[in-house]
């Protein structure tokens, strides 16, 4: 559906302060569906997403998109980055940077404010929002450019069940509309609900990768089995 995919990573390696934090990673993400990245803390989920998005310097290897248009990617960070502006101005920002005509921006902003239920806070300073509101705003701000690919880094960490469900509904809708989602999470329930395929990272490497259902039902490695049980994996 999306022309950007498949995305092929070959021999990708990221080093920070002399230690390899990711890789070597070989991974091919196919054109459709939602890919969920799971793994323990520090396993490299954030780094892998950043590599795919093209905002992380890689030490070795290649990241090849079928059709690369950076304006068609969007990224939702693990800790939402709020501009020191109002909620509405935060939403408008990505379109302003594309020099979209003002009336179109206003329309899109109104649409998304309503979609995430923040109309009454449109003039509020974004840094004053609650964690859940920030997360929703960050997702809406990422979607306002109508990206083909949306990367999400644990978008519902620290959120309660209600806020998580709201976000998942939104993501479902977006995915059904044809946006390719690649998302890291440590919420296994969420992974099962959203995933078409799953990447299990361990110590910076892809430990298992495959379609979600068989992978969750019959994990082929002891580590993934332990991880799914909630055991500590190292």
């Amino acid at each position: 559906m999306t022309a950007a995919f498949p995305l092929i990573l070959s021999g990708v390696q990221v080093r920070r302060q002399g230690k390899t934090v990711l890789g070597p990673v070989d991974l091919t993400l196919c054109a459709n569906g939602t890919t969920i990245i799971v793994g323990p803390n520090g396993s490299g989920k954030t780094t892998l997403l950043r590599v795919m998005h093209g905002i992380e310097r890689i030490r070795a290897g290649d990241v090849v998109w079928e059709n690369d248009d950076p304006a068609k990617h969007a990224f939702v960070f693990q800790t939402p980055i709020m501009l020191r502006r109002s909620v509405a101005e935060n939403l408008a920002y990505p379109l302003m940077m594309l020099k979209t005509p003002k009336d179109q921006i206003d329309m899109a902003v109104d649409h998304w404010l309503e979609r995430i239920g923040l109309e009454s806070s449109r003039g509020t300073q974004a840094t004053r929002l609650s964690g859940g509101e920030r997360q929703k705003l960050a997702i809406a701000r990422a979607l306002i450019r109508k990206p083909d690919v949306l990367f999400l880094d644990e978008p519902s960490a620290n959120l309660d069940g209600h806020a998580t469900r709201e976000i998942e509904e939104l993501l479902h809708e977006v995915a059904n509309a044809g946006t390719r989602l690649v998302m890291a999470t440590h919420d296994m329930g969420q992974a099962r609900r959203l995933a078409n395929d799953v990447v299990f990272l361990l110590n910076g490497r892809v430990h298992e990768y495959g379609p979600a259902e068989p992978l969750f039902a019959t994990p082929s490695t002891l580590e993934l089995m332990a991880f799914l049980r909630g055991d500590i994996v190292s």
């Binding site: 950076p70 501009l83 502006r85 109002s86 940077m97 300073q125």
Partner: protein, 219 residues
Amino acid sequence: MGIDEELWEISLRSLRVTLTALLIASMIAIPLGTYLAVQRFRCRRFVISIINALMGLPPVVVGLVVYIVLSRSGPFGVLNLLFTPTAMIIAQIIIITPVIASIAHQSMRELWAEYHDLLISLNTSKWQRILTLIHDGRRNLLTAALAGFGRAIGEVGAIMIVGGNIDHVSRVLTTAIALETGKGDFVLAMGLGFVLIGISILVNLAIHTLTRTEREGRW
């Protein structure tokens, strides 16, 4: 001319010289400080240390250099700027630009650390990044400018040299204080001193209120 009128004239000149210098210095220093926060290039660290070093430049030396450059036999002698308010403005610009640039750079660096990932992710251009930081960090930049203002309005060494403290031409509050103190008229000197302090407080309060209303009104 009465004392009051003269005081008024001197105070206004002080304000005019300093505010002009502040405006021009800010127009150089704020984009420069922000650019240095956003852009990595080979001699960036070097440029930053030059700015920090210039911040500690003794004003008297700045005055001396500007004097030499503007004096009749100097490279810009034909412009006849020595002993004019313009000469004082030039000296003040040289003194406060590094101060404003350095403070602006510091706070823009913090804001850039906060915004970096988002602005990179949105594929913004270098100019968009700089403008975004200036816009969203405007209150910190105002603080930087205020520091420059304080430094400039109270400066005496450099403007004494390049302005010459000429009555009705280049006399400002600080040079007048120096003159009256030298003549032994401490009462007048003190009076001028209070005016100087008053102006500083007023400008600070005005800017404080401005940013305050913005915060409460819109934020």
